[in-house]
């Protein structure tokens, strides 16, 4: 009816979720920010924690490593997800359901369980190394764990559905008649792929990349278990600061760095592609 009653309705509908968000997310986040600038600490307010982060080559290394791992995981996920998503747009409804279950099943399984499963597969005496040795492909076991390779393998597997689903949605929304038109004009499969399918699925790729990369930046369990003490990521640093060193100020500053990095990516994505396309 009137604008005011519309607002009241909207408020009633959104209100509970908003309250929850403020209570369990925005408030602690605000506290983190206050902690990161030394609020409540002995030294008073200041950028001391950020200075320590910026001046220590250890933390710079961690930030670079975290970013690098996320980039590699994102690339691996895009490369692995694209063919799967493409096949999903090509098969009939029965096969689509099967594929969809296989894509979604990992999402419903605990990350911890999946990471331990990867440890069984990747360790020196693990399934993969044993099979390769039995096939005489290798003599010495490959080092697939406690290094970035293991972390990337594990994270890519965990994050793969977040790449497949937006890519699938994007590929499915491409009008199949465009490909037929191109075909009638003499375009073979490759030309149709790189001139039509690939550019038209760009929004899906951008969405997939954003979802995987942003989640990758803050990943904790998988790098902690598969990377161990040799592959420290930002999330692990934060955990160590809080749990072992009780340095809340530094942990909060690191968390803020991660938050700002993520927010910048999301804003950049919104400018370039539009956030409304993430779930469309």
């Amino acid at each position: 009816m009137s604008a005011r009653s519309t607002w009241r309705q909207a408020g009633l509908l959104v209100g509970p979720a908003l309250l929850l968000l403020v209570a369990v997310y925005l408030y602690p986040l605000g506290r983190l920010f206050v902690l990161s600038v030394g609020g409540g600490g002995p030294g008073g307010a200041g950028l001391e924690a950020y200075r320590r982060l910026a001046e220590s080559s250890v933390y710079i290394d961690v930030l670079l490593r975290t970013t690098r791992i996320s980039v590699v995981v994102t690339l691996v996920c895009l490369l692995a997800a694209y063919p799967v998503a493409y096949v999903m747009t090509r098969v009939g409804p029965a096969w689509l359901r099967v594929l969809m279950v296989f894509v979604l099943l990992p999402l419903w399984t605990s990350i911890l369980v999946r990471t331990y499963a990867w440890m069984v597969l990747l360790q020196a005496n693990g399934v993969l190394n044993n099979v390769l040795r039995w096939l005489r492909v290798i003599d010495e076991p490959l080092r697939l764990m406690y290094n970035e390779t293991g972390v990337v393998i594990g994270m890519a597997q965990v994050l793969l559905p977040f790449a497949i689903l937006p890519l699938y949605a994007s590929l499915r929304s491409i009008d199949p008649r465009l490909s037929r038109a191109a075909q009638s004009m003499g375009a073979g499969p490759w030309r149709r792929f790189y001139s039509l399918t690939l550019p038209l699925s760009m929004p899906g790729m951008a969405t997939a990349a954003l979802l995987v990369f942003v989640q990758g930046l803050g990943f904790f369990i998988t790098p902690a278990l598969l990377g161990g003490s040799r592959v420290i990521t930002l999330a692990m640093v934060i955990e160590t600061q809080v749990v072992d060193l009780l340095d809340w100020s530094l942990a909060s500053a690191a968390a803020m760095v991660l938050l700002v990095l993520t927010a910048a990516l999301v804003v950049g994505f919104d400018r370039l592609v539009g956030l409304d396309r993430v779930w469309a």
Binding site: R180, A181, Q183, S184, G186, P199
Partner: protein, 357 residues
């Protein structure tokens, strides 16, 4: 006669147990405009897709320029295609859309620019090269789609209801433009539509399809004047369909009783035996109304309804015992317009009736 450009020989397409195209044979000659006309589900689009190569025939032979193309993918058939949805590439400008088939053929870029400009000029879209499809109206998109299908001079242009998405006025405009363009370029065209007016306006020949069969092929005039079946008569233009029993037959003339005391005299070469059940058709515009009786096939009738359409008036006239015929009379300002309830005489010439048995 010269070798046909496209030849279909006994082509069938089955989907499981459903028969989409049944034993169709068709020749399309160089420079011809042939239309596949039929109601939805008649197999006309499937036939087009078989020729384009997007569907494979269950049996039969398809040849283009004498060579079998059944095993050839669509991209190797040298066809141009215009879809009802236009299928313009949304991420490319008009120029890039039209240049697409040329670039696919690795035509040098200066020649691409030249040929795209020329074809855009031909479809009156010269000023729109930099626009994107979403910035164009339906009719403009249509023109670009046609330009894109013609720019590489394919042997054969296939069009699947290309004007189906346009409103009536624009459709008629585009019809004459398409026809002009086709005649100027001389491109052999196979056109699919369910719109009989469009088929009549555009085609050199029409193939009428019904439930997978080609029922009749011929020029628009031949089909209109000499339909092979009552389906063709009814599908191409309006028609009165009347069932009756043969009362008698002399040389060249048959008398059919269509109701108690109403007999139609029909000129026909056929000589059905007396008592046989037949179906008669007659176009509404071949019936006339008069205030006085006279001639053969003249019956008393009662006007039940009259609809003024501008250049003509349509009447429903009851001939007695519930037998109603449609009459279409031209109106040029002089003619009497009859009103409902008025008594009239309905007249027709024996030559204008068709008999199907």
């Amino acid at each position: 006669m010269s070798e046909p450009l496209v030849t279909l020989r006994a082509v069938s397409k089955h989907y499981g147990r459903a028969i989409a195209v049944n034993n169709v044979s068709l020749d399309v000659f160089e420079g011809e405009f042939v239309t596949l006309l039929g109601p939805s589900g008649s197999g006309k689009t499937t036939t087009l897709m078989l020729i384009a190569g997007f569907e494979a025939p269950t049996s039969g032979e398809i040849r283009i320029r004498g060579a079998s193309v059944v095993a050839r993918p669509p991209e190797k058939r040298d066809i141009g295609m215009v879809f009802q949805s236009y299928a313009l590439f949304p991420h490319m400008s008009v120029f890039d859309n039209v240049a697409y088939p040329l670039r696919t053929r690795r035509v040098p870029s200066t020649e691409v620019a030249e040929r795209v400009a020329r074809v855009l000029d031909a479809v009156r879209m010269s000023g729109f090269a930099g626009r994107y499809p979403r910035q164009l109206s339906g009719g403009q998109q249509q023109r670009v789609a046609v330009a894109r299908a013609l720019v590489y001079r394919p042997s054969l242009l296939l069009m699947d209801e290309p004007l189906g998405a346009l409103d009536k006025k624009l459709r008629e405009e585009m019809q004459s433009e398409l026809k002009d363009l086709q005649r100027t370029l001389g491109v052999t065209t196979l056109y699919v539509t369910h719109d009989q007016q469009e088929a009549l306006a555009l085609s050199d020949r029409i193939a009428i399809m019904n439930v997978g069969d080609v029922v009749q092929i011929g020029s628009p005039l031949a089909l209109y004047e000499h339909p092979a079946t009552d389906f063709v008569a009814g599908f191409l233009g309006d028609v009165n369909t009347l069932d009756g029993v043969v009362a008698g037959a002399e040389t060249g003339v048959v008398r059919v009783e269509i109701a108690d005391g109403i007999e139609v005299t029909v000129t026909t070469a056929a000589r059905p035996s007396a008592g046989k059940r037949v179906r008669l058709t007659l176009r509404p515009e071949r019936l006339d109304l008069a205030t006085i009786a006279g001639g053969v096939n003249c019956w008393r009738g009662l006007v039940r309804g009259a609809t003024f359409r501008g250049e003509l008036v349509r009447y429903d006239v009851e001939l007695g015992s519930g037998l109603v015929v449609n009459v279409s009379r031209p109106y040029r300002g002089q003619e009497t317009i009859f009103g409902p309830g008025q008594e009239v005489f309905v007249r027709s010439r024996p030559d204008d009736w068709r008999v199907f048995g």
